[in-house]
Point group: C2
Chain length 140, copies 2
Amino acid sequence: MNTKVHDILRRNQLSVTESREKILNLFLTNTRALAHADIEHKAGERFDRVTVYRTLQTFVEKGILHTIPTADNSVKYALCKNDCFEGHHHDNHYHFICAVCGKTECLEDFVIPSVRLPKEYLANNVEIVVNGICSACRKK
Amino acid sequence: MNTKVHDILRRNQLSVTESREKILNLFLTNTRALAHADIEHKAGERFDRVTVYRTLQTFVEKGILHTIPTADNSVKYALCKNDCFEGHHHDNHYHFICAVCGKTECLEDFVIPSVRLPKEYLANNVEIVVNGICSACRKK
DNA sequence: AACCATGTGCAACGGCGTTGCAAAATATAT
DNA sequence: ATATATTTTGCAACGCCGTTGCACATGGTT
C-alpha cells in the first residue's frame, strides 16, 4: 500500500498489517472525522468489529488519532497533526459538527479561547464542540 | 413530599408521581450533576431502569433538566436554571468535571467565550466541558 | 367514588463494546 | 530462506445500555 501509511505505522512501533494500513488510509484520504461505524462498513471493505475497535484504540494510544465527543454520545476519530505523532497529544483545537451533513471537522486554525474557572480550580483540558451549519450546507 | 418539587411538576403539566417526585428531589438536594446510574441505584431507593430513562427524558423535554456530555461518553443530567422552566432551553454556561472526585458542575457564573469559525459557518450551540481538578480535591 | 388518562414495571430485544482463546499473520533470528 | 517468537486477527460469547410493547397500577378529573 501507501508508503506514508507504512511509515506512520513503523514510526509508532506498530506492525504493519492489512487492517491497520487500510484503516489508517481511510483517515488519510478523508478530511472529515470518522465514527466507528463509518469504518466498519466502509465502501466495499468489511472489517471485523473487534479489529476496528482495537485498531482505533491503538491509534489513539499512539497519538495517531484523537477522539471527538459528540452531542449524541457517539465518538468520532480524526487524525492528529504532526506534533502528536511523538506520543504526547496536543489537543489545542476545537471541533465543528454540521447539523445538516454531519460533517465533523477539526478547526485547527483557531486556538481554544481561555475559559474562566472558580477560584482554586485547575483546568487540564478543555473540550469544545461547536454545533452548527457549514458553509456548503448553508448555500444549498 | 416537598412542595417545591410538586410545584415544578405541576408547572410543567406533569402528573405528580412517586418516581418523579423522588428523582426530581435528588436533583434539588444535590448540587452536582447525576448520571443515569447514580439515580438508578440511589441510596436506599431502587428505581426501575425504564422509569428512570423515561423520567429523565421527560424532564429534559420539559426543560427541567439539561444534559452534560462527558469525555467518557456517558451523559450526566443537571437542573436547569429558572429561565429554562418555560420550555425554551438556554444553554449559556459551560461545565466542569473534576478528574479526582468526578464531581460535575455547571459553571453558571461564566459566560461561554465566543468562538471563531471559518467563513460562512454558522454556530448554533457551543458545548464546552472543562476537565480538571476542583478546589476541594486540590487541597487534599 | 368511578371513570379516564397517564405512568409504571416487566419481559424481551437489538446494538455496542469488551474479553478469552485459537488460528493466522507479521517480525525477528539464524 | 526458514524457523521461531511475537503480535494481531477473527470468532464466540458475554454483559451492559437504552428502547419498545403491553398489561397493570397510579394519579387526575368529574
